[in-house]
Amino acid sequence: MGKPSPLVISNNIRKLRFNHNEMTQQELAEKTGVTRQTIVAIENAKYSPSLELAFRIALAFNVRLEEVFFLEDKNSPDF
């Protein structure tokens, strides 16, 4: 069995914030109970949040989890 291919978790947080009355990073941070720096890190794909925080973010936008986060496979042809 070989090593699994590397996965990249991307997100639509920036777009969702824009679509929700241009919600600021600070407002989203307060809604989800984390610091603004953590929201910045998630947006820039420098931090993959826990499942709980991922759901909190989805709840803050009132959308399903997969509308916020999606998986990209570096080896897939459409990556």
């Binding site: 109970g33 984390v34 610091t35 603004r36 720096q37 953590t38 910045v40 890190a41 820039n44 794909a45 420098k46 931090y47 949040p49 826990s50 925080l53």
Partner: protein, 148 residues
């Protein structure tokens, strides 16, 4: 640069300053006795025991100064909470720091095995403590900057 990154740099500077000034002050009090005398062990015992409260007090003072200067310079408020990312970074930095200290501890014991004076063992122990703290601060800065 985020607040956490600046705080890691402040902690690194305080570690270097406290270690340097305290060691420079204490080295003048090193007893002029045999390397295996009771005075030498007494010196190193008091060196480490006094270092603990001195470093705690100095770090608190430096941290307060950093918070004041940071608030004046950037007008950015200190984050009121410690979230899951902060805890993960702290854990990873602490783990790296522990590995460094374990290597230093083994080296310190090895110095006794090869018949070096006890002072060499204490110096290696002290250096591994300082370096591990510095590695912890550098790791914290690195994880905040590059992601975790």
């Amino acid at each position: 640069m985020s607040f956490q990154e600046r705080r890691a740099i402040a902690s690194l500077i305080s570690t270097i300053l406290v270690s340097a000034f305290y060691s420079a002050y204490m080295v003048q009090r090193y007893p002029e006795a045999s390397a295996y005398s009771v005075e030498v062990f007494h010196f190193w015992g008091s060196f480490f025991l006094i270092l603990i409260p001195v470093s705690i007090v100095a770090k608190i003072i430096i941290y307060i100064l950093f918070s004041i200067i940071n608030a004046i310079a950037t007008r950015e408020e200190e984050p009121a909470i410690t979230d899951e990312r902060d805890k993960l970074i702290e854990l990873k930095a602490q783990t790296t720091s522990n590995y460094v200290f374990i290597v230093g501890f083994i080296l310190a014991l090895s110095s006794l095995v090869v018949d070096m004076p006890p002072s060499v063992m204490f110096i290696i122990l002290l250096l591994s403590g300082i370096v591990s703290q510095m590695i912890s601060d550098i790791s914290t800065f690195y994880f905040y900057r590059r992601g975790v």
